[in-house]
């Protein structure tokens, strides 16, 4: 299963990157979201999948899944959420002010 999950993570990264290379802001932001999903999935996979019970101490259970990756993912999810929200608002403002949602028109090498 880990192999399949690795492939899935690869697909998420791939589609994310492809979206990131597009012109329209919405696609780009979607790309970043896909990439963070991929990253979180990778962390999860790098612990051992299904190797034990959920990491909540229960009488009689000896074997739990690795709790540390879960903690890391949780932190990372929240951070990504923060960044994504900012990015969304910024994308909105930038495209309003510059009158375009096309990144290729936001090159701006005029050095003003």
């Amino acid at each position: 299963m880990e192999i399949i999950m690795s492939v899935l993570a690869g697909i998420l990264f791939m589609t994310g990157v492809y979206n990131l290379l597009q012109k329209q802001l919405l696609r780009i932001v979607i790309g970043t979201a896909l990439i963070s999903h991929g990253a979180h999935l990778t962390i999860l996979t790098m612990g051992k999948l299904k190797d034990g019970a959920p990491p909540i101490l229960t009488e009689g259970v000896e074997n739990y899944t690795d709790p540390l990756p879960q903690a890391l993912i949780l932190t990372s999810i929240v951070i990504s959420f923060g960044v994504t929200s900012l990015l969304l608002v910024l994308a909105y403002r930038a495209s309003k002010i510059n009158h375009t949602d096309n990144m290729e028109q936001l090159r701006g090498n005029d050095y003003e």
């Binding site: 880990e2 192999i3 399949i4 999950m5 690795s6 993570a9 690869g10 697909i11 998420l12 990264f13 791939m14 589609t15 990157v17 492809y18 979206n19 990131l20 290379l21 012109k23 919405l26 696609r27 780009i28 979607i30 896909l34 999903h37 979180h40 999860l44 996979t45 790098m46 051992k48 999948l49 299904k50 019970a53 959920p54 990491p55 909540i56 101490l57 690795d66 709790p67 540390l68 879960q70 993912i73 949780l74 932190t75 999810i77 929240v78 959420f81 923060g82 960044v83 929200s85 900012l86 969304l88 608002v89 910024l90 909105y92 403002r93 309003k96 949602d101 090159r107 701006g108 090498n109």
Partner: protein, 776 residues
């Protein structure tokens, strides 16, 4: 001794205050005292029984950078020149620079320059030497750019700085190299362990770097081009920099390292051939100049070439002649520059085509000029010091011996080239004198009505001319006290020579006569043959190369830069990704990073496959849909899919969080993009699309392979068992993930919240500041 070197720097600090009263008291008067004081201080070392002195003051001992001053014959000669000519120049400048000029600036640069020169010639520590060396470049940059409202000044200043700093950096390379090889930063100690350097495999590189430093500073062909443009500086500066100091620093450097390097054949070949070519080129080009200072500039180049060549010869006689000529050149060239300044000052022009017949108006100046010019030309008269060293130059050029290849060729060619160069030296000397002071006078065309210069202005050139004559008549007066010591320091052992006027009717004398004969003919017929300058150098001059390089470096940079700094995010990302993928995969395969371990994997179940497939399809869906709402919702599917996986893989907290976050994110997406245009077709060309896919697939592959390999290389136990064991015991919680988050890794969580807070503030200011603006 350290005080003597630092005195100019210390005094420079007070100049800005002093210059406030410049209306009442010309700043130059005070400044003149500084070199004079140092001159007097060092003069007491003069004498036949001089012995080198070394003084050491700690500065940065841990880097082996200490103020070690080594006063030997060579340094003493230069110190006398720097301070002696310095005094005269400072005195001269009092009359040359009007009180309305920015005197404060001028004298600060002047003093820094002088101090740096002293530092260069006295330092025994290579890094200290280098420090002073760069400071001479920078202070001369400021001096040349003194009248920076003129474009030519700025151009000349930049040019001299770029070329000399380039040389300086090259010198630094050589110095560091020698330090690493010999393990010492003292030049004197390096000289004793020169074998290590001479036999090092990189010796050719070291030699080239070192000489590049010296040649650029000493304006050797083809690096001479900065010197003529440096004539934009006020004339006292030119007199100082180009007769006795700045340009001689390169000579000094080669002379200083000569005992260490002269054993190498390449040293002889490179130094003497550059020198002799410079001699010829400089004197040849001098005749073409129309600016008095331009003639002197090329003359300086040519004379420096001659000295350089002699040092390259490396024989006892040649070294002696070189050292002697350093002194002689300083005297006559210094006076000639000042004379050019006087002519400029009194007539308002330095254009030799407008000048002529000034003998009647500036008789005193003309007389002085006559001595200087004939000494420079090497006219065989017993009261001209230039003749002595010129004659020695011829003599030493005839005494060269070599055994193989290029060196043999050089030894044959050098005497002829020496005569050739000297002929033109004679020609431009005559051209300079007769063009300015004799011939028809056309006073009316001059910007100012000429009259003799004030006495004060004449004092300095007069003293120099007296030296010219004095040295000529009584050479032994300078020989024993310091020429011999200087030559010995360069030669490495006792290099005493007697200086005679008359050696008999020998080959060198015949060479001198040849020079005079051909020189006179050519000088009389100048207008008839100047046509050759159209062919050599013609349009191909080193200046053009420099201009091309400087201009093009800017144009070229901006072209190169624009080719990839386009501002296009997609391009940036592609370049970044290609690098990451390319380099990582290369290393991955080079190091045999791939690993696959199929044991100990979780079993594959249908439900997981279904979820994974859905996510994959949804992920692709975001690419292919052209409806924004659909795209956002499909993205949501991926997010919820991930939450499903979290549930399956025993991560309840994650699943909860993911669900909430995903929901809010989707809502935000909808909120924001509702106001933005709908998705269009991706609108990329086939080629674009292919590249994008390649990059994306490459990156996806990288992640997958590295993930599989990492997972298959679980070499260690994870640290998590500790968390399981201690979550309740020490953390007091059943939910291990929560305990980790709030306790064991509480700092992460605290700052994760900080990130959220920051995001909130940023968003708030994004929205708020907009409103403020729109209200206006």
């Amino acid at each position: 001794m350290i005080l003597a070197v630092l005195l100019p720097f210390i005094f420079a600090i007070f100049i800005p205050f002093l210059s406030k009263w410049k209306d009442k008291f010309h700043t130059g008067i005070a400044v003149t005292l500084i070199p004079l004081a140092i001159f007097i201080y060092f003069a007491r070392f003069l004498g036949a029984d001089f012995a080198p002195v070394t003084k050491s003051y700690p500065w940065i001992p841990s880097l082996d950078m200490n103020m070690v001053f080594h006063l030997d014959g060579l340094s003493l000669l230069f110190v006398m020149l720097i301070t002696g000519i310095g005094t005269l120049v400072a005195f001269y400048s009092i009359y040359y620079l009007h009180k309305s000029e920015k005197l404060g600036h001028f004298y600060v640069y002047f003093l820094i320059f002088m101090g740096s020169m002293l530092g260069v010639v006295l330092s025994d520590n290579i890094y200290v030497l280098y420090s002073f060396w760069e400071f001479t470049s920078l202070s001369s940059f400021l001096l040349i750019g003194y009248w920076n409202h003129k474009h030519a000044s700025r151009y000349g200043a930049l040019k001299s700085m770029l070329i000399t700093v380039f040389g300086g950096l090259s010198l630094l390379g050589a110095l560091v190299f020698m330090h690493i090889i010999t393990g010492t930063t003292s030049i004197q100690q390096m000289i004793t362990s020169n074998e290590a350097i001479l036999n090092h495999e990189s010796f050719p590189l070291i030699l080239s770097l070192l000489l590049l430093g010296a040649f650029t500073k000493s304006a050797q062909f083809p690096f001479h081009i900065w010197l003529p443009d440096a004539m934009e500086a006020p004339t006292p500066v030119s007199a100082y920099l180009h007769s006795a100091t700045m340009v001689k620093a390169g000579i000094f450097l080669v002379a200083r390292f000569s005992p260490m390097l002269s054993a190498s054949d390449w040293y002889f070949i490179v130094v003497s051939s550059f020198g002799i070519v410079t001699l010829c080129w400089g004197s040849y080009m001098a005749v073409r100049q129309t600016d008095l200072k331009g003639i002197l500039a090329f003359s300086t180049i040519s004379q420096l070439g001659m000295i350089m060549a002699m040092i390259g010869f490396g024989t006892k006689a040649a070294i002696f002649a070189a050292v002697f000529h350093i002194l002689n050149h300083a005297t006559f060239k210094g006076s000639l520059f000042m004379i050019a300044g006087i002519v400029d000052h009194e007539t308002g022009t330095r254009d030799i085509r407008k000048l002529g017949g000034l003998m009647n108006y500036l008789p005193m100046t003309a007389t002085l000029a006559m001595f200087g010019v004939f000494s420079m030309a090497g006219f065989p008269l017993p009261f001209l010091n230039g003749f002595y060293s010129k004659e020695m130059f011829f003599k030493s050029s005839l005494e060269l011996t070599a055994t193989d290849g290029i060196a043999t060729f050089l030894t044959t060619a050098i005497p002829y080239l020496a005569v050739f160069g000297s002929i033109f030296t004679f020609v431009y000397s005559m051209y300079f004198f007769f063009g300015t002071f004799r011939g028809a006078s056309n006073i009316n065309q001059l910007p100012k009505k000429p009259h003799e210069a004030p006495v004060g202005m004449l004092v300095s050139p007069t003293i120099l001319v007296l030296l010219v004559v004095g040295i000529g008549l009584f050479p032994f007066l300078v020989n024993e006290p310091f020429i011999t010591h200087a030559a010995s320091a360069v030669y490495g052992s006792e290099a005493m020579k007697e200086i005679y006027f008359w050696h008999g009717f020998n080959l060198p004398f015949i060479m001198s006569l040849t020079v005079i004969a051909f020189g006179t003919i050519l000088a009389l017929t100048i207008p008839r043959w100047t046509v050759v300058y159209q062919y050599i150098p013609g349009v191909l001059s080193m200046n053009k190369v420099y201009d091309f390089m400087v201009d093009k470096s800017v144009v070229f940079s901006s072209k190169v830069n624009k080719s990839y700094m386009t501002g296009s995010l997609a391009l940036y990302m592609k370049l970044i990704l290609v690098t990451i993928v390319g380099v990582s995969f290369t290393l991955f395969f080079m190091t045999g990073g791939f690993a696959l371990d199929l044991s100990n994997l979780a079993p594959v179940t249908t439900i997981e496959i279904i979820v994974a497939l859905t996510m994959a399809i949804a992920a692709f869906g975001t690419i292919f849909t052209n409806n924004r709402i659909a795209a956002i919702l499909i993205l949501g599917v991926v997010g919820y899919g991930l939450a499903m996986l979290f549930i399956i893989y025993r991560a309840p907290d994650l699943a909860l969080t993911q669900l909430i976050v995903e929901t809010v994110t989707v809502a935000l997406f909808l909120l924001v993009f509702y106001h933005l245009p709908n998705l269009k077709h991706r609108g990329e060309t086939k080629a674009d699309s292919l590249v994008n896919w390649l990059v994306a697939v490459g990156f996806g592959l990288l992640i997958t392979t590295v993930a599989i390999s990492s997972h298959s290389s679980k070499w260690f136990d994870v640290i998590s068992s500790y968390f399981v064991d201690n979550s309740y015991k020490l953390g007091g919680g059943d939910n291990i993930v929560n305990v980790i988050l709030v306790d064991m890794r509480g700092l992460d969580t605290l700052f994760e919240i900080a990130v959220l807070g920051l995001a909130a503030m940023a968003i708030y200011s994004l929205i708020k500041i907009k409103n403020k603006k729109e209200e206006k």
